[in-house]
């Protein structure tokens, strides 16, 4: 019997017995649905992190020099304890580092904190504060859409001026042009000189609730009361230049801190790659956990299919007898029932894929989690459906193929 015919026969059986088929397929469908949903979410997150998130933290050819790493955290408690003893990084360190680098680098110092801000137009609200210096706006790719950036003089004088994010502007200055107006933070008045383009959100956190001011302004009393800095970002024209610069910074800092060759660095230098590396580990764990659970569903689904196929063989004994009397060999009957089980299961898998994709889209629409469909997961899910069907169909199909035609024909 040709394969196509066997598949058609199986599909007809599903159509005729809709409710029974629904329950038969439920296990496989749910298994595949979760598989697809989980993989899509994990894939979506990783795509987001790789293409968007990391780029926003650290652009191309940019690395950070900080006291502590942003991404590549300690692997053990001992390491964590050692990190607690790492010296603070000061503005002088940053200057020293810049002096060791070629003239065409772009660099920026960044320290952050959070505090309540207020205006006469709106209720006070917490905002992110960034006290910065250097080529901060260029490195961060912040486009000024109103007013201007902070000038060199303002950085030097530590003027109390701010460039504000989109949400700060709309909240504190409803229907007003914020440029030239006053924003108070912990009672200190600052003049808004510019506004940056809307940045959107990241994992549900708004990237627009921020104000940026000069490092030497009164903001630093909040962001770095001890006088140290979180760290700095350095952007090089090319990737090669970036790796060279990283080495130079490392050597300069090791020299400055009098580290012996056997001693490890007591500061952190990171590129977006270290962030990616860290994230990939997380992603692998999520993928394994996310696929192991749906497998249980598939196993249960396989057992259900096996049972249903055994019932089908019992119900259709006479049909098997007729087919055998007309010349069907064992392998013809075996194939018919195997194809039927495989078709059932594959249909279940396909329904599961559709539901899984729908679930992923629903999750994406209602939570900050992004979703992206991984093409391989669709192939794997279909193959899994097919595989589960074949495995669970073998036993019933063998039973059918070994029926004695005379006995089978006698059955009512």
């Amino acid at each position: 019997m040709p394969l196509f015919e066997a598949v058609r026969l199986a599909l007809a059986t599903i159509r005729v017995q809709k409710l029974k088929s629904f329950f038969t397929l439920l296990g496989v469908t749910i298994g595949v649905m979760f598989l697809i949903a989980v993989v899509s979410i994990v894939e979506g997150m990783s795509k987001y992190v790789e293409e968007d998130f990391i780029g926003r933290f650290l652009g191309a050819n940019t690395f950070t020099f900080r006291r502590w790493p942003d991404f590549d955290g300690p692997d053990s408690e001992a390491e964590w304890r050692a990190m607690q003893r790492w010296p603070l990084v000061y503005k002088d360190d940053a200057r020293y580092v810049v002096a060791s680098l070629p003239k065409d680098v772009r660099w920026a110092i960044e320290t952050d904190g959070r505090a309540y801000a207020s205006t006469q137009y709106a209720r006070p609200r917490e905002t992110m504060l960034y006290a910065v210096e250097g080529d901060y706006f260029q490195i961060k790719n912040y486009d000024i859409i109103a007013g201007r950036a902070i000038t060199q003089q303002e950085y030097q004088m530590g003027a109390n001026v701010l460039v504000i994010g989109d949400e700060v502007a709309t909240h504190f200055f409803p229907n007003l042009n914020p440029v030239g107006r006053e924003l108070r933070i912990r009672g200190v008045p600052y003049t808004v000189v510019g506004r940056i383009e809307k940045q959107g959100s990241l994992f549900g956190m708004s990237m627009d609730k921020l104000v940026i001011g000069p490092l030497e302004s009164d903001l630093s009393r909040i962001t770095n009361p001890r006088g140290d800095i979180d760290g700095m970002m350095i952007k090089m024209p090319t990737t090669t230049a970036m790796y060279d610069a990283m080495e130079e910074v490392r050597e300069a800092m090791r020299g400055r801190r009098h580290l012996r060759p056997a001693q490890a660095d007591n500061f952190s230098i990171e590129t977006s790659e270290s962030a990616l590396r860290e994230f990939k580990e997380v992603k692998n764990v999520m993928t394994i956990a996310g696929t192991a659970l749906p497998m249980i569903g598939l196993v249960v689904g396989g057992m259900v299919i096996m049972n249903i196929m055994l019932v089908a063989v019992a119900e259709r004994t006479r049909e098997i007898g007729i087919r055998k009397s007309l010349g069907a060999r064992r392998r013809d009957i075996l194939r018919q029932f195997l194809v039927e089980a495989a078709t059932l299961s594959t249909v279940g898998a396909i329904i599961g894929i559709v539901l899984g994709l729908t679930a992923a889209k629903l999750i994406e629409a209602n939570t900050p989690l992004p979703a992206a469909v991984a093409p391989w997961s669709l192939v794997v899910a279909t193959m899994l459906g097919l595989g589960v069907g074949i495995v669970s169909g073998v036993y019933p199909a063998r039973r059918a193929s070994r029926l004695d035609p005379i006995e089978a024909l006698r059955q009512e």
């Binding site: 040709p2 015919e5 005729v16 007729i322 087919r323 055998k324 009397s325 007309l326 010349g327 005379i406």
Partner: protein, 263 residues
């Protein structure tokens, strides 16, 4: 109603005795030769001997009825002749090939190529159309879909059912269903048409109609073997073999049989 074909010379009893007594393959005039066929069943320790040495020779183009009361072993004989079962002892030569020692799959091929079954209960697939039912043996013969369809249509035309080929069994009358089954049995051009109580589930008018179909086929040269327990149905055949207690009790021409039973 005696026709010319029915008066064609039958093989003589002497010839039959010779071919049965021989060793090895019979010549091509014989479709079926059995030599001392025995079939025993083990029913929970007790051995039931359904056939106790059946010698039977059936020539090409014969129209034979196998008759006997229930329990006589005629169903067992039919199963063996139809290659659904193999004998415990003895030889069965079908069309010059010994089939008594074949494996399941070899028997399946023989059933597919050499035998056309017509059952009392029609045994059509309920969810398939008449056409598809007739196509089934060709499916297992590995014939392409197009040829299959053409051959199935031709077979349905032979039983005057070409107007109903897209009907399912439950949309057909009993007589029509049996004619679909006959078309299915004929579609592979089998060596023998093996009918098991073909009229058992039909009323007398329809029975007559089906018997006329068999008669027509026999006239066209088809070898027909019909198993029945009804003497008046058996009397349609040109030769009647009566089985009793697992052995052949009598083997007569129709005329002798009719006379003896006073039909």
């Amino acid at each position: 109603m005696q026709t010319e074909a029915a008066e064609a010379p039958l093989h003589t009893t002497a010839e039959r005795q010779v071919v049965v007594a021989q060793d090895g393959a019979p010549d091509t005039r014989w479709v079926i030769v059995t030599r001392g066929i025995k079939r025993e069943y083990d029913m929970g320790g007790e051995v039931v001997r359904a056939l106790r040495g059946v010698d039977l020779a059936i020539g090409r183009n014969e129209y034979v009825a196998i008759m006997g009361p229930s329990g006589s072993g005629k169903s067992t004989l039919m199963n063996i002749l139809g290659c659904l079962d193999t004998p415990t002892a003895g030889e069965y030569w079908l069309n010059g090939t010994q089939v008594s020692r074949m494996t399941d799959d070899q028997l399946a091929r023989i059933r597919n190529k050499e035998i056309g079954f017509v059952f009392q209960t029609f045994n059509l697939l309920p969810r398939a159309t008449a056409l598809h039912n007739v196509e089934l043996p060709l499916v297992y013969a590995g014939i392409s879909a197009e040829t299959r369809k053409r051959m199935a249509k031709e077979a349905l035309e032979r039983v005057q059912l070409d107007g109903r080929m897209h009907h399912k069994p439950n949309e057909l009358s009993g007589g029509q269903r049996q004619r679909v089954a006959i078309a299915r049995a004929l579609v592979n051009n089998p060596s023998i048409l093996l009918a098991d109580e073909p009229t058992g589930n039909l009323d007398s008018t329809t029975s007559e109609e089906i018997m006329r179909v068999f008669e027509g086929l026999a006239e066209q040269g088809q070898t027909v073997i019909m198993v029945t327990h009804e003497p008046d149905i058996a009397s349609h055949a040109r030769r009647v073999v009566v089985i009793r207690d697992g052995v052949i009790a009598s083997d007569d021409r129709r005329e002798t049989f009719v006379e003896r039973h006073g039909l």
